[in-house]
Symmetry: C2
DNA sequence: ATTATATTTCAATAATCGTTGAAATATGAA
DNA sequence: TTCATATTTCAACGATTATTGAAATATAAT
């Protein structure tokens, strides 16, 4: 994942309503759910919701497909995983164990940086 | 982690310079590095950098301590892990394996939701 | 005490963002 | 075709945000 994409994804998630929407879709799973049910679950106006879906979609965090007159939105788990990986990439100079009791910390890709003594 | 805190942390990371700063600190590890070296590494004006550090600090993503006339900033790995956990919490109705080939997906805490057939 | 270094504070400005309301589009039902 | 449902588009407004420049503070060196 490139940095620009990561910033876009983080910006998409960094908003009250959108974080709610995304987490709801994460919990809904790969089949997603119709826009209307999201609006109802979160108490959002339909046009406001469209605005937020657009941001999430531009960031590659959700997909849409049409089903009848409903639009079904679903979380893109692959993008989320890339984002999490990007944040923890090459942590602690490639030595995750040096990051303390941190649970998620992705080592460097390919080369592993030297650990200073 | 509460939702407000998650939004704050995501907003703190959702900016070009700040994402650079945070990742640099993640890579630097628990000992952190002085503000001056961050400024130099990323080509940021010192006052701009202070502004960004404040945001990261308010979000609990970094800590500061003084060493002589330098301020040493370090990533807070615990907060980052809480954030990652928050995003993936209760994914796919508590059945992470249903999320497809997703690598990071945290099951529900306590109760596990029923999986519809 | 004076000077240099490291960083922060403050005010101002330009740019971006979220919500709203009204109207448009697309699909399905009668 | 006409009506109802589901969602999107567009323009406008107020609020928030990032960057800048100049000045202030804190520590260290002479």
């Amino acid at each position: 994942m490139k940095k620009d994409h990561a910033v876009a994804a983080l910006a998409a998630l960094a908003q009250d309503s959108r974080l709610d929407v995304f987490r709801l879709l994460v919990q809904a799973g790969p089949d997603g759910m119709p826009a209307g049910r999201v609006a109802e679950a979160l108490g959002l106006a339909p046009n406001t919701l469209t605005f937020h879906f657009d941001r999430l979609r531009d960031a590659g965090l959700v997909t849409v497909r049409r089903d009848g007159r409903s639009m079904i939105y679903a979380a893109r788990f692959a993008t989320m995983n890339e984002l999490l990986g990007f944040l923890t990439e090459n942590c602690c100079q490639g030595a995750p164990e040096a990051c303390g009791p941190a649970l998620v910390c992705k080592p460097a890709r390919g080369k592993r940086a030297k650990v200073s003594v």
